[in-house]
């Protein structure tokens, strides 16, 4: 469930966070978690080489995906995503099977034709520009799309996401600077998913504040921090941030504190760690608030597990790239505009 808008919007109204929406959040969080866990299993069983992903970030990523103003072109939001963005992209409506394809590096992988690691999206109809393996470069690129949006008018913004460690790169600074040029402020929403680590390096050993959003103080950029393990708090924080960026046409930095439930990647083992789990916390809340029964929640899981099983069976039959594919897409010879 992601809401797609109309190109003519001049005022953005966030969807209402009612009971149905809260259950939709849960459904999408499960969708993402189940998908990532399926991906991890694929690596374990030799159906893929490497996993990196987002379990533990669903509370932060799913509301984002649901609040995106989705579509193609500068009237809509551009997304410059970190490699832990499955919750967002799945919440926008993408199919888990496509991630399985990328994991297995089949020719049918729609994001990279089997070229990139999993979770490296590229979806032009939804303005999701190619996810890069280079940390933080996406921050420097985001002002470019936002500049076109500033000229275009409307409520479309450029959303960029990244990790805590990556914010040490100068590209984060470039993003802050380029989006605050006098009389040229840009609608860039900068998100930091703070999981406390860059691979093995603990954030508190290399950065002098837990609140990396405060780096924006040096530019007078409005910023905030939220508990990214709480999708409701995140939803509200995002609504506030987006409202500002969309209508004031100025940048905003929002940090969400999240967990890294399976560690950095398959290189570090991808086994479940003892960190707060946004999804079980959220399920407990839904139960507590009487919005769902245990059986209903379990049914959501079952549905996604079944879907993922089916998807996996399909994907392992699909063809792999070979010699003929290597030289495809080096240059483009169609029309110029994206």
């Amino acid at each position: 469930m992601a809401l797609s808008g109309s190109p003519e919007l001049t005022r953005w109204t966030p969807p209402v966070l009612d009971e149905a929406c809260k259950l939709a959040i849960h459904n999408l969080m499960v969708k993402s978690r189940a998908c990532e866990e399926a991906l991890i299993r694929m690596v374990r069983t030799g159906h893929g080489y490497f996993w990196i992903g987002s379990p533990g970030e669903e509370g932060f990523g799913v509301p984002l995906g649901m609040l995106v103003h989705k579509g193609h072109g500068p009237a809509f939001d551009y997304l410059h995503l970190h490699y832990r963005s499955a919750p967002t992209v799945l919440a926008m409506g993408s199919q888990p099977i496509d991630l399985l394809r990328q994991m297995r590096s089949t020719v049918t992988d729609p994001y990279s034709k089997g070229r990139n690691f999993v979770n490296h999206f590229a979806i032009k109809p939804w303005n999701i520009v190619p996810v890069t393996p280079t940390i933080e470069t996406q921050y420097a690129v985001a002002p470019g799309t936002a500049l076109v949006q500033r000229r275009h008018g409307g409520v479309g913004i450029s959303i960029v996401t990244g990790g805590d460690a990556g914010s040490a790169e100068g590209d984060f600074y470039s993003a802050m600077n380029w989006s605050t040029r006098p009389d040229q402020e840009l609608p860039v929403l900068m998100l930091i998913a703070h999981n406390g680590y860059g691979i093995s390096t603990r954030a508190e050993r290399v950065q002098n504040t837990r609140e990396l959003n405060r780096r924006g103080d040096g530019f007078g950029i409005r910023n905030a921090m939220v508990d990214g393990n709480d999708p409701i708090a995140t939803w509200n924080a995002l609504v506030e941030a987006m409202d500002y960026v969309r209508h004031e046409r100025k940048p905003y930095i929002l940090q969400g504190n999240v967990s890294r439930l399976y560690g950095h990647s398959s290189s570090s083992g991808a086994s479940l760690l003892d960190e707060p789990d946004c999804l079980s916390l959220y399920e407990a809340r839904l139960l507590r608030e009487g919005l769902a029964t245990a059986a209903e929640l379990k049914a959501v899981w079952d549905r996604w597990h079944d879907a993922l099983n089916d998807a996996l069976h399909q994907v392992i039959e699909e063809p792999m790239p070979d010699r003929q594919h290597v030289l495809q897409h080096v240059f483009w010879d169609g029309p110029a505009g994206n």
């Binding site: 410059h80 990139n116 490296h120 470019g144 470039s174 495809q328 897409h329 240059f331 110029a336 994206n338």
Partner: protein
């Protein structure tokens, strides 16, 4: 005749009017300066960026993603070395996304020595540039080609790197750009910003016409039979001068202006080498892992048994920089005499 800098400016103007250019930007690219070599004076979409090369290239990429057509500038190629990762991203976005996105952008930057530029205004960049995949790389040696290559670069839906030989920026062309006024003083009055206060100045653009130099097409500037000389940019002129000198001494050199360095016009080079049996490649980049070595290797692949003498490279000395004193530049950057000498050696070499 228009200078090379004026030709670039006219091409960018044409690009704004007819080819969808949306942003021409970089350090000091906008008013009042219009570029350190005046290449962007008076252009309606030109603007001054922060002093941040990473921001410049990345923003261009973002603009291209969002449907714009940016022409970004790195003020001197000497300052491009902190963005090689971004150039790689621009060049691999299409391939890595398996065709989902492409990157219609032009990046232009002045290159080469010849202006007493010292260590950081004398760099060449073609060797690194041609090693970065997904980019086309062009480099004109005269004003008309600069115009025609820039239009092709803008029209190309892929990233194109436009290397402008800084030593030629003020050099006048030998041929008119289509639509250029007959009288160069008139052109000057129309499009060059006045010295001093420019606040109220507006250019009056001549109605320049479409004219393309296709990417990937070399030009044979001198026909000859004894040796093939492959050059480009500023040193191309030293090659033709050398050829003219040697002509008087009975050595006939065929001089090819590559114009596009990637993908370079292999067929023209091969055909010439098959005819002359000898090859000299000339450039001013440093000599270790030099683009000219690639040209030579490709010739070996295809024409080894046609070769009657060792192919040779004349290039910049392998030192950490071009020193300011002329004694440094003269002895580390190829000069006319070096090229004459090398051409003679290759033409006359016997086993």
């Amino acid at each position: 005749m228009a200078t090379l800098a004026q030709a670039i400016r006219l091409a960018l103007h044409y690009g704004e009017e007819h080819l969808g250019v949306t942003d021409i930007f970089g350090e000091d690219v906008g008013a009042p300066l219009g570029g350190v070599f005046t290449c962007t004076q008076g252009l309606k979409t030109a603007w001054n960026s922060p002093l941040d090369e990473r921001g410049i290239v990345a923003t261009a990429l973002g603009i291209a993603y969002a449907g714009g057509k940016p022409v970004a500038e790195i003020q001197f190629c000497d300052y491009i070395y902190n963005v090689i990762d971004l150039l790689k991203l621009c060049g691999n976005a299409h391939w890595s996304s398996a065709g989902e996105y492409h990157v219609p952008m032009v990046l232009m930057t002045p290159v080469g020595a010849g202006i007493h530029g010292s260590m950081y205004h004398s760099h060449s960049f073609e060797s690194m540039a041609t090693h970065i995949q997904g980019w086309k790389v062009v480099m004109p040696s005269n004003a008309k080609d600069a115009y025609g290559l820039m239009l092709s670069a803008i029209a190309d839906p892929n990233p194109v790197l436009f290397l402008a030989p800084k030593g030629l920026m003020r050099a006048k062309g030998e041929e008119h750009i289509p639509g250029e006024p007959e009288d160069e003083r008139q052109l000057h009055q129309m499009i060059d910003a006045p010295v001093g206060d420019r606040q109220d100045w507006q250019p009056r653009w001549p109605a320049v016409q479409d004219y393309r130099v296709p990417i990937g097409q070399a030009r044979t500037c001198r026909k000859g039979s004894d040796v093939t000389v492959v050059g480009y940019g500023r040193l191309l002129h030293l090659c033709t001068q050398a050829a003219d000198q040697l002509q008087e001494q009975g050595i006939s050199a065929e001089v090819i202006d590559l114009r596009t360095l990637y993908p370079f016009d292999e067929q023209s080079v091969f055909a010439s080498v098959r005819k002359t049996g000898r090859l000299l490649v000339v450039n001013e980049d440093t000599e270790v892992t030099n683009f000219g070595e690639h040209v030579i290797r490709r010739v070996l692949d295809e024409c080894f048994y046609d070769l009657q003498a060792p192919p040779k490279l004349v290039a910049g000395l392998d030192v950490p920089g071009v020193g300011l004193a002329w004694g440094y530049e003269k002895n580390s950057i190829p000069q006319l005499a070096d090229i004459v000498e090398a051409m003679r050696t290759v033409a006359q070499s016997q086993p």
